[in-house]
Amino acid sequence: MAAGYAATLSLSRPGSAVSREAGAVCRNAAAVVEQRERSVALFGVKSVALSELEMLAAECKEADWDGYGAESLHPRALSLAKEIIRSLPDDLPMPTMSVEPDGCVSLDWLPTNGRVFTLSAGKTDRLPYAWLDGTDRGHAVARFIGGQLPPRIVREIRMICGDDASVWAA
């Protein structure tokens, strides 16, 4: 079932195909994906995270949503953030999310006050990220290719979260 869902998810992404048939396949696949994600029983915590993201999107859809002149949430950033959430391995804690002043979505893993992993989903497939782990800290940019986070990113999130799966509830 998981393999079938992954294949459907892949088909649901807008691609380069332009034929009417290809468009219909993409729309139908997207409907199947949406239907499945509405079921918490099947999609679990990811469904909750996607709902949280939709609430933030509604809050930040207009420019200056923060009162400091922020840009409105960029549609591409929203769709990329959803793709990232869907792609996360099932045993990885879900991030909490926030919208950034430039209209990007931040996915944050914050297991303790001293450990942070924060990743931005923006207007391209390039993902700026940063981490704090005690006195160790850094930043870099990765790419979201083929609907998957790079294995290095997943490893780093696991390291930050450690054995503590009780990542902050939003």
Partner: protein, 127 residues
């Protein structure tokens, strides 16, 4: 501005904090001017801070609370806190990494610094 001076960043998005802490996004700079707007809090009671938030952010906008840091926290992150009146008590966190050539890498650097400052804020002060 002295190192011990408290600075308040008003939290206007429900996604910028939770019960335990303030998230890094709350401190990221405005993309238009590259600065993060804060208010000098001083020893004033919380009610004064709430009044400033209502006046400066706007009565029609929900202000959930504030993240309180000190100027030293900003400087420890290799940024600077600079007075920026008007309005009264306004200040800016300036010196954020910026790059036209590689904005994504600059954004990553900003996120590291924002996370460093947010960690110092601890839990949000709720209004």
């Amino acid at each position: 501005m002295g190192d011990t001076e408290p600075l308040a960043r008003f939290l206007t998005s429900s996604g910028h904090f939770n019960a335990s802490a303030v998230k890094p996004a709350a401190f990221l700079p405005n993309p238009k001017n590259g600065e993060t707007s804060v208010y000098r809090h001083g020893p004033d009671p919380l009610e004064d801070l709430v009044a400033i938030a209502r006046e400066e952010i706007g009565a029609d906008r929900k202000v959930h609370g504030a993240a309180i840091i000190r100027a030293a926290d900003v400087r420890a992150a290799r940024l600077e806190a600079r007075a920026g009146e008007p309005p009264p008590r306004h200040a800016d966190i300036v010196g954020w990494p910026w790059s036209e050539d590689d904005p994504d890498f600059a954004k990553a650097a900003q996120k590291e610094l924002a996370a460093t400052i947010a960690r110092k804020a601890g839990a949000a002060v709720r209004f």
